[in-house]
């Protein structure tokens, strides 16, 4: 490999001609232009990030300016009202919490159990493949389609009605893929020798799962569950689709109270509203006074979801630092 002119790289040889000094100057110019593109793009990248950041800032500023004056204790303890100044989010936040309870009670055990099966028990065969493809596809189904499923299945076929139970189950199905994927990732990150050591001591497969895999993967699972719940609490479309009401001036019955006394599970079948639906209702009214209520309720909701997301991000960050197998 004898390069006749080692001082001029061949890639520049075609475009650069003339005396050595002029050639060097041309190469310098080329490098300058290339470097300018570098700086330009670094700036462009920051600008693009700024679009996102500024949107968040504008969103918060708008909500705080409009909503903060409405945020007082009465706002949390009043029912919605036709007078914007007296309306509150009592039925909405109580409804949201009850729906989330149903969601968690269904999605967490089912999601974790399903993930354990797929990661630890499942044999590599066509049936397992079907389940895997299925979960990947479900994660891409728009949330409103889950609402239609719930409307046809829970509300009418099973006869749960437009109730807290229907809404909770709908959101549980919606976040199931999130919980499953997070749990599987957490299980996969546990090294094989932990399992082998346990089997070596005579543990059965379930004992390995119960005593070793689950405890070690708890932080990872928790992160997934929190992200899923944060997603669920902000979901509006599926709950509107099953027909949640927007104007609720009572709370679901507390077991054992009222006349006749409410049963243990009567609240599950109670009509309800949730935070996002209350916000939707207030936003779609023309009266600006209700928009202030919407801003205040949005502020509460966004603090809840971002708080949950923040917790999950922090948990994951800590996790990554701490665990060294």
């Amino acid at each position: 490999m004898n390069n006749p002119n080692p001082s001029a790289p061949s890639s520049f040889g075609d475009t650069v001609a003339g005396s050595p000094a002029a050639r060097t100057e041309q190469i310098r110019a080329l490098i300058r232009v290339a470097k300018r593109w570098d700086h330009f793009f670094a700036l462009l990248g920051l600008l693009a990030m700024m679009v996102g950041i500024l949107t968040l800032v504008a969103l918060f500023t708008e909500m705080v300016i409009d909503g903060l004056p409405r945020l007082n204790l009465d706002f949390f303890t009043s029912f919605p009202s036709r007078r914007a100044g007296q309306a509150g989010i009592l039925s909405a936040w109580v409804g949201s919490i009850l729906v989330m309870m149903v969601t968690a009670l269904f999605a967490v055990p089912v999601g974790i159990a399903g993930a354990i099966y797929l990661e630890e028990y499942a044999k590599k065969n066509w049936f397992t493949d079907i389940i895997e493809i299925n979960i990947a596809n479900l994660a891409g189904v728009p949330s409103i389609v889950y609402g239609l499923l719930a409307l046809g299945l829970f509300v009418y076929t099973f006869g749960f009605g437009q109730s807290i139970l229907s809404a909770g189950l709908t959101l549980a199905l919606l976040i199931l893929p999130i919980v499953i994927v997070a749990t599987r990732e957490a299980l996969r990150s546990i090294p094989k020798h932990i399992r082998e050591a346990a089997y070596g001591c005579g543990a059965s497969q379930w004992q390995v799962v119960q005593d070793h895999l689950l405890p070690y993967s708890t932080p990872g699972i928790l992160t997934g569950v929190i992200i899923g719940m944060a997603r669920a609490i902000g979901e509006t479309a599926p709950i509107i689709t099953i027909g949640a009401l927007t104007f609720i001036v009572f709370l679901p019955p507390v077991p054992g109270t009222g006349e006749p006394p409410a049963g243990m599970f009567d609240w599950l079948f109670s009509p309800f509203t949730v935070m996002p639906i209350q916000i939707f209702n207030w936003t779609s009214r023309p009266d600006p006074a209700f928009h202030q209520n919407a801003a205040a309720a949005s502020l509460v909701l966004v603090v809840m979801t971002l708080g949950m997301n923040g917790l999950a991000i922090w948990l994951r960050y800590r996790l990554r630092k701490k665990i060294k197998w």
């Binding site: 290339a34 679009v51 996102g52 399903g114 099966y117 891409g140 189904v141 239609l148």
Partner: protein, 311 residues
């Protein structure tokens, strides 16, 4: 009564019994876990069954030809027309606006985070993106209607209060994190050796990013785009709040329009009796939506498989 330690045959029999009990327990647990894993399959079967059942009932009233070719969408009027083109035009227009925002910005952010930003910058900026995707869509809807639309009206005074443009723009910003983080994952998976080879040839960061890393990661980037499209098509609340739910066959983003998703919301807010044609309409619309997103998801999967560069 103190138990006598068993010996010989008796001891063996006891151990065999314990072993059998344990293996029965293990079998039962495995069955329960399998059942939990199958819930996802039941969900899919349920979705397909419900949508097909109600759509089938719908298409006994309305011919498929009318559904696909009629240019009016007035399912709740006496003179009912069921031209899905009207809703599709709204979905297409809003998705196009959203993608015009999300794809360029998402790609630039992904290249920046993967190739330009230092470790510290990346670790601080990525959570911001995650926050952006964590905001509930109803709040984006509120933001589009009450902040972005008035802002746009200063630029275009004739812009109506409900329009596809502001909904689409906000939707685009909402989708940025999905596009950016998936594209970035794809770029980070490109082996360091390719970059080092490029730098060794005297290429700058920008040249390396655009001519080496992006082409090598193109399958992942393309599937990120397709996922973005699928998100845009399925997005509901921003459009229901800010784009005005008025069905009209238009591709002009400056006008109000209804999309497939916002139509479902509109019907659900009303009080349609179970089993009426209006009720069945939303399932037909939902079926179309499911088919659309499924097609995009499969396309994304195929692109990832077909054009993946294996290292």
């Amino acid at each position: 009564m103190p138990e006598m330690p068993l010996t010989g045959e008796a001891r063996l029999a006891q151990m065999a019994q314990a072993k059998a009990r344990r293996s029965r327990r293990e079998k039962a647990i495995e069955a329960v876990l399998l059942l939990a894993a199958c819930v996802s399959v039941f969900t899919t079967v349920g979705i397909v069954y419900i949508l097909l059942k109600e759509s089938f009932a719908f298409f006994t009233h309305v011919s498929l030809w009318d559904f696909l070719t009629d240019t009016q969408w007035t399912p709740l009027f006496d003179d009912a027309h069921f031209g899905i083109m009207v809703l599709l035009s709204g979905t297409l227009t809003s998705s196009a606006v959203a993608l015009l925002v999300a794809i360029p910005l998402g790609t630039i952010i992904a290249i920046y985070l993967s190739e330009f930003a230092g470790h510290k910058t990346r670790e601080t900026l990525k959570p911001v993106l995650e926050l952006l995707s964590g905001v509930p869509t109803i709040i984006y809807g509120y933001f589009a209607l009450l902040f972005v639309t008035p802002l746009l009206q200063k630029l275009f005074p004739e812009l109506p209060g409900f329009n596809v443009l502001s909904a689409g723009l906000v939707m685009g910003i909402m989708i940025i994190p999905y596009v950016a983080s998936l594209s970035e994952d794809a770029m980070r998976a490109v082996p360091m050796g390719l970059r080092e080879g490029s730098y060794a040839m005297g290429a700058t960061r920008f040249q390396t990013a655009v001519r080496v890393v992006v082409p090598a990661a193109i399958s992942g980037i393309a599937s990120a785009y397709i996922l973005g499209i699928s998100r845009a098509v399925g997005e509901t609340m921003i459009l229901a709040v800010a784009a005005g739910m008025q069905p009209s066959l238009t591709f002009n983003p400056m006008e109000p329009a209804a999309t497939i998703t916002s139509f479902v919301v509109q019907v659900a807010l009303g009080d349609l009796p179970h089993g009426s044609v209006g009720y069945q309409t939303i399932f037909a619309a939902g079926l179309l939506l499911l088919l659309l997103t499924l097609a995009f998801n499969m396309l994304g999967y195929w692109v990832r498989r077909r054009y993946r560069e294996a290292y």
